[in-house]
Symmetry: C2
Subunit: 512 residues, 2 copies
Amino acid sequence: MKNKAGVEIPDELLTKYGYKSFDGAELGHPESQRIAPKVRVSADQSKIVDSIEELVKNNVKNGMTISFHHHLREGDKIFNKVMQIIIDLGIKDLTLAPSSLTNVMNDMVVKAIKAGTVSHITSSGMRGSLGDAVSHGILKDPVIFRSHGGRARAIETGKIKIDVAFLGVPNSDEMGNANGMIGDAVFGSLGYALMDARYADKVVLLTDNIVDYPNTPASINQTQVDYVIKVDQVGDPEKIGSGATRFTKDPKELKIAQIINEVITHSPYFKEGFSFQTGSGGAALAVTRYLRQSMLDHGIKASFALGGITKSTTDLLAEGLVKKVMDVQDFDKGAADSMHGNQDQQEIDASWYADPYNKGAMVAKLDVCILSALQVDTNFNVNVLSGSDGVIRGAIGGHQDAATAKLTIISAPLTRGRLATIVPKMTSITTPGESIDVVATEYGIAINPARKDLIDALGKIPGIPVYTIEELQEKAEKIVGQADSIEYSDRPVALVEYRDGTLIDVINQVKE
Amino acid sequence: MKNKAGVEIPDELLTKYGYKSFDGAELGHPESQRIAPKVRVSADQSKIVDSIEELVKNNVKNGMTISFHHHLREGDKIFNKVMQIIIDLGIKDLTLAPSSLTNVMNDMVVKAIKAGTVSHITSSGMRGSLGDAVSHGILKDPVIFRSHGGRARAIETGKIKIDVAFLGVPNSDEMGNANGMIGDAVFGSLGYALMDARYADKVVLLTDNIVDYPNTPASINQTQVDYVIKVDQVGDPEKIGSGATRFTKDPKELKIAQIINEVITHSPYFKEGFSFQTGSGGAALAVTRYLRQSMLDHGIKASFALGGITKSTTDLLAEGLVKKVMDVQDFDKGAADSMHGNQDQQEIDASWYADPYNKGAMVAKLDVCILSALQVDTNFNVNVLSGSDGVIRGAIGGHQDAATAKLTIISAPLTRGRLATIVPKMTSITTPGESIDVVATEYGIAINPARKDLIDALGKIPGIPVYTIEELQEKAEKIVGQADSIEYSDRPVALVEYRDGTLIDVINQVKE
C-alpha cells in the first residue's frame, strides 16, 4: 500500500524497523510521554578533566549512542579529534547521532565505519565520500534521516537515547556554564546542541576558552554538564558560512529571487507582523534583499524571522524591519556575533524551533518560508537528500519542518546543467507535496492546485507566468531530455523519517 | 535509632511515608533517574482561553497535584483567585505543591482544606492561620516541608508529580512565551516557577499583559505551556519586599551585622573572587552595606552573589563590586527591575540554584552564606520552621541548601522578647549543625568545634568575644529563663525533609 506521499513501503520493512508509514502532515493533539536522562549527582568544585582519552575510556562503551553538533559546519575541529580517539581506543558498534554531518567529517565517519567503531547513523544528512559509501552499502543497517525538528522529537521521546554528547563550545567555566556567543570559535545559537545537553546521560563540553565562574549568559548550564575539557581549537567560525555570503550575480538566481519576492508580496501573508524563514545561500540572500526593499516600500515590518540565520537577517533586525530573530543556528559569523547582548535575537532550541511533538513549535506560526530542492516531482513532493544518480548528497535540515508554513515556496532552477530539477519521479522524497504551496523557477511559478486561494492571489502577477507543475516538468524535459533510470538493489541504505516519526521514504543501495 | 541530626524517628513512620532517615549532609555521586512530563501535542495558533472555570473543569480532577509559585510573595493575586474557583467547582482531595505559601494565601488554604479541596500539602513553609491550623491537626496526613533545592529534586525525580501548574507572569504572548522582567506585576527571576513549567503535565500561564508574538526573552517558552489566560491583575510588586528594604536602625541588628562582616573579612574566604549569599531582611541589608565598605577598603571583588536578591545586591553589581548576580528570586521590585537586559544578572532555576541531585548546583560553589534562625541548639542545629510554642510559622526556603556553603554564618539575636534563640532543645530541626560554621549574636560568636581552622582564623578578632555554643545558650537562659516545655500529641503534622529527600525531623501536633 502506498503512503500519503505516494511511496510504496513494504510492510516487512515497516515491521522490521518499527515504523508506521507517512500518513499526512497533520498532527492533531496526541499525547506524548517525554523521557529524561540519568544524572550522576555531583557537588564537585570543578569538572575539568585533562585527557579526552581517559574520558572516552571511562564513559564510552561498545554499543552506545554518541552525539555531536554541527554548528561550526565546515569549521568544526571537534568531531574528527574525538572520533579518532574513539577509533584508536578500539570501541565498537556505536550509533552516531549528530545534529548533522558536514563535509569536514565525511572521511572520518567512513574510517569509523570501516573500523567497526560506528555501525549505525542517524543524521539530518550526509554528503561526499560518506554519502557515497552509505549509498553503496557500507552500513549493515540503514541510516535514519531526521529533520532538525524530527531529531528533537526523537530525543525527547526516547527514539534517540544519547549516552554521551561531545559538544564544542567557544567558552565554558569549570562547571560547564557555556554559550556560543563569545570566543574564538563563536557560532552564536547553540540551538541543536541544547537538545543533547538536556537529554544525554553524559554531557562533555570541549572548549578552547575556560572562563571565570560563573559564566553568563549560560545557554548550557552546569546542571547539564558532566565534564569540561580544554582543547587547542574548537573551530574556525570563518568556515561556518557556506561561502555564499555575497549577493549572487547569477542571472538565473536573481530572476528566481525576484519572482519569489513578488510571490510573497502578492500573497495574503505580506502584511504588518508577518513572519518568514529564508534559509542560506546566494538566492536566499537575494530574496532577503528584495524583500527588504518591498518592506520599506510598503511600510511593513515582520514580527519575526526564523531558522538558520544569516547576517542579512540580523541586519534587518538592526534596521528595525524585523522585530525578533528566533535563532536556532547561525549561518555566518556576522549573525553569530550579533547575538551576544541582543535580547531580540532569541536563541531557541531545536524543539522550540520545529519539534512537531511538543506544545507548539515556532514553525507552526510561520507565514512564509523559502526552501531549496534537489528535485521536485509533479505532486509537489520535494527531494533534498539524494542526487539524480540516487546517491545521498544532502540534508533534510529544517525542510520538512519549515515547509509547514502557511506559504511555502520552493526555489528551484528548472534545470541544473544537464539535469532537470522538476521531474516525473524523484530519487527520493523528503518533504510531502501537501506542504508545498508554490514552486518558483526562472521561467515562472507553479501553484499547488490544493491552494485555490493562492491561485487567485498569485495567478495574475505581471511578468510572472503561472504553469501547472506538469507543464514545468515537460519544459525541463524538453531542455535536458529524460534522465537515465537508476538501477537500485532492493537493499535499503537509508530510511527517511517524516518529522513526526513516520516513514516517508526508503533509499535503496545504488548499483555501480 | 537517632538520625545524624540526633532526632529519633520511629521506623514505622519511615516505612509508612517511604523515607530514609537523615544520614549526613554529604551526597557523594549517586545516579538518579529523572522523570519527564506527558505532553499534549499542539500546533494551534493560540493558547489563549477565556475562562479559568472552564479550564479548571477540563483539566483539574479529584486527587491531582496542582502548583503555584510564590515569586510575588505578599503581592500575589493569582493563588486566591484560582483556588476559590477550584473550591467552588467542588473538586476534592488535591495535593497542593507550591514553591512556598505566603501569608496572603493562608486563609484560602485553610478554606480549601475545610472544603475537602486540598488534602495534602508540600511547601517550603507556612505561617499564620494556616501554620496554626496544620499544627493543630487540620490535615489527615502530614505536610511535607522541602527546601527550594529539595523541591527541585523532588520534581526532577518524580517525588512531586505536578498535574497542573498555575503560574502568574507579568507578560506572555498568545503561545506562552513569558518572562518575569517586564509589566505591571514584574517580579524578576522566575527561578522556582521554571521547575513547574518544565515538569508539570499541564502548564497554565495567567497574565495581565498579553504581548506581541514572539515574546523575548522567554524564560518560560511555548514548548512548555498549554494555556494562557488573561486576568485583571497578576500581583502587586510593591508587596514583594518583606518591608525591610531600609537600613535597620535596631542597635542589636546593627551589632550582629557588624560582627558578621568582621567574621567574613577575617575568614580565609574573603579574597578576590569570593562568593556570597546574604538573604533578605534588615540585618542582611546591613551586612551587605558593611561588606560593601570592606570590599572597597580591601580592593576585593566578588565573583557572584547568589540566591534571593535585593536591590542592595544589584547595586553592588552596578557598582562592579560583584561580577555576577545568580538570581533565583527577587526580594524587592528594585532587584526585579534590574534584571531586564542585564546579562550579568543571570536568571537561574531552583535546580541550578540548589538541587542536590543534579550535576552541580550553585550552592556547592558558595563561599559565604548568612542565614537566619528561629532557634539554634547546642549542636548548631537550626530551626526556621516552628516557633517556641511548637506552632509552624516559617519556611525552609534555601536554608538547608545554602548552609552547605564553605562558611555558613547564622545571624541570631541571643533573645527575642522573652524567648531565647539559642536553646538546649528546639521545637524542630530544619538544618543540621554539621552545615553551620558560626553563630553570630549581639554578644559574640560561637564557632562549630568541627571547624578548627575557623577557630584559628576567627578566634582573636578585636572586640568580638568567642563563646562555646553552650555558653551562649546559658547566657540566653540567664536573661529569659527556661522556656515552658510544650505538650505534643504523638500525631505527626509535618515531615521535614532534608534537601536530599531523607527525613531530618517530624513535627507533631501541639495540644491546645
